[in-house]
């Protein structure tokens, strides 16, 4: 199945993915509510994207003490019924990707649902750090990448997004019915 994958060598920590995610999922900019989070180690060096991997044998499904996390046997998609979540945090603690988020409005733990098969975070990622690809593509991509970058520790980051890029992201969001001005988006990404 297709998953959201992350290339830390391309990420410039602009924060657009988390901002867009929280906007589409909760109606406001709030990175704490985003289903995707780019992890760092204190510096401005991206390490990994914490986002649901829709694992082959998902730990959250067996960990859920209410039995409300399921995996579609056909598509492999991990789905959640939020009603009845008693916030025991077993999913969050057992998730190897650190992908579970406590949604304040739902009053339940949740995770990335791939936006129904067309994830917004990937669409708004102009650097190409986030990709939506199947395992074979992902594997080929990673092999090429690691051949190139083997043993290299990235310390430098590319510059910030240009004004034109902020405009471009806004037009992508507008096309999704999310009306945001560039300045507003910039603030939301901080």
């Amino acid at each position: 199945m297709k998953r959201v994958t992350f290339d830390p060598y391309r990420c410039d920590l602009c924060g657009v993915c988390s901002a867009a995610c929280s906007l589409v999922k909760t109606g406001k900019f709030d990175a704490s509510q985003s289903r995707i989070r780019i992890e760092t180690a204190g510096s401005r060096v991206p390490l990994r994207a914490a986002v649901c991997r829709h694992c082959e044998e998902p730990a959250c499904v067996t960990a859920c003490m209410r039995g409300i996390i399921d995996q579609d046997p056909q598509t492999g998609l991990v789905t959640r019924r939020h009603d009845g979540c008693f916030r025991c945090a077993a999913c969050a603690v057992s998730c190897p990707a650190g992908a579970c988020v406590l949604d304040e409005a739902l009053n339940a733990f949740t995770a990335c649902d791939l936006c129904g098969g067309d994830p917004l975070c990937v669409k708004v990622c102009l650097t190409g750090a986030l990709r939506f690809e199947d395992d074979a593509e992902n594997s080929a991509h990673l092999r090429a990448l690691y051949a190139e970058k083997m043993f290299e520790e990235r310390e430098e980051l590319p510059g910030e997004l240009t004004d034109a890029q902020w405009e471009e992201i806004c037009s992508i969001l507008n096309a999704e019915g999310l009306s945001v001005a560039p300045d507003e988006l910039r603030r939301g990404c901080r």
């Binding site: 830390p8 204190g42 390490l47 067996t62 077993a90 969050a92």
Partner: protein, 437 residues
């Protein structure tokens, strides 16, 4: 005599998971679940929320009976009294018999009760293992409670009674500090302060000596004082329910729980076991024991179900046999503003002279990391779950040291000079680098 392809004793987390997994693997096989309680599988870890009133009875149910019917699983409320593995028969309390092709034991565990102690048979003594226990406790009423024990039941039970409106909730722990198997003293001190901020009085180092009262519970006598109360919640531990298994000649380990291989097979042919009644490896410490947790019970149950179904069919399905490689025992509570997470070894369990402990207290959050030879061996945190996945993965890798582990962790250099946050950053970077090599 009733006949079934797969017979499962027990309908808790493990038994129900086994039933659904077996039926999914081989829909043409008959699957029969026997249970002492006339309840579809419900969430035992959610019982404190049922007690507090936050969840309803329906909300603690995991799979209602309709799910069983839709899946084609039969369920029967009955007690088994004997297993005859030779003739592959289970004898029931009502005299009935069920013959099986494959048997899965998911008999669970029983709360420990101090039957010999004076007054423990009086009305007002409660445990919290079943829905019935909670309903009995709720119906009994009262406004003053003593909770004995400081494990999950003790902590969550105390919080739930407080949320239920009890004026007085006193937690009594005989040992020097709270949950000493999972927490260090410093973590316990922080936890104690949090519990007291919720109105739970915490007494440690005080063993209960008896229950006061003539016709009903009127108080608890400890080494140091008498505490008047209306009810007592006993949370002093659980023991695997293995009576049937032992009588049938099924081998048990040093922990007293049933031994299985990684396919959940016992020493007897056609007999599997899973859940609280089985012994397993704690992947955070490498130690074998009886670890009673929801997640491994479900995972082990599913493995037993798949394997038993494939055995019953005599052919391998596309579903590969599932193996169960160990328990991830998280000491976890996340309720009503109280969040506790502990995993791996405590300070007392680190090799002498080789341990380093880092701690951090900031904005109401307490974090404590335990290292042995510079490698993460344990983590305890209050008020946060951040990096739980990172710590769990590190502790597990360091504890298991399996030969096929391709990214064994390196010791953290100059650990003594680092702050906890700096050590966490090192661990995050190390994980990143492990992936890119």
């Amino acid at each position: 005599m009733r006949k079934t392809d797969i017979l499962i004793l027990g309908n808790g987390a493990a038994g129900s998971s086994a039933a659904f997994a077996a039926k999914q693997t081989a829909p043409e096989l008959n699957v029969l679940v026997l249970s002492k309680e006339d309840e579809p599988v419900y969430s035992a870890p959610a019982l404190p929320d049922l007690l507090s009133g936050e969840l309803t009875r329906a909300q603690v149910t995991v799979s209602p009976w309709d799910d069983y019917r839709n899946a084609g699983i039969e369920a029967l409320c009955a007690s088994a009294v004997r297993i005859d593995a030779g003739t592959r028969t289970v004898i029931l309390e009502n005299g009935g018999e069920v013959s099986y092709g494959e048997l899965i034991l998911a008999t669970g565990s029983q709360p420990i009760r101090l039957r010999k102690m004076q007054g423990t048979g009086l009305p007002g003594n409660f445990v919290m293992k079943t829905i019935a226990d909670v309903e009995d406790m709720a119906a009994y009423g009262g406004s003053r409670a003593v909770v004995v024990g400081s494990g999950a039941i003790g902590i969550e039970g105390s919080m739930a009674l407080k949320a239920r409106g009890f004026e007085q909730v006193v937690m009594v722990e005989a040992l020097e500090w709270l949950s000493p198997k999972s927490l260090d003293r410093a973590t316990s001190d922080e936890l104690k302060a949090k519990l007291e901020s919720f109105g739970v009085k915490v007494l440690t180092g005080e063993a209960v000596q008896g229950v006061l009262g003539e016709t009903k519970v009127e108080g608890v006598r400890t080494e140091k004082r008498d505490i008047p109360c209306d009810l007592i919640l006993w949370g002093i531990g659980m023991r695997p329910d293995t009576e049937l298994a032992k009588a049938a000649g099924i081998e048990c380990g040093a922990s007293g729980a049933i031994l299985t291989d990684d396919h959940m097979r016992t020493n007897l042919p056609h007999v599997y076991a899973c859940g609280d009644c089985t012994e397993s490896v704690d992947v955070f410490s490498g130690q074998r024991g009886a670890y009673l947790f929801w997640e491994p019970a479900r995972r082990g149950g599913a493995a037993a179900g798949v394997n038993a179904a494939e055995e019953g069919q005599d052919v391998r399905q596309e579903n590969r046999p599932r193996v169960f490689l160990g328990t991830t025992p998280f000491f976890l509570t996340n309720k009503g503003g109280l969040s506790i997470l502990a995993m791996g070894r405590t300070e007392a369990q680190l090799a002498e002279g080789r341990g380093t402990v880092l701690e951090e207290k900031k904005d109401g959050v307490y974090r404590r990391l335990l290292f042995e030879d510079g490698k993460l061996a344990g983590a305890q945190m209050l008020g946060t779950l951040e990096d739980a996945d990172l710590f769990a993965a590190q502790i597990r890798k360091n504890a298991m040291q399996r030969e096929d582990t391709w990214d064994l962790t390196e010791p953290v250099p100059n650990l003594e000079q680092l702050s906890l946050q700096e050590a966490v950053f090192f661990l995050r970077k190390q994980r990143r680098n492990a992936f890119s090599k």
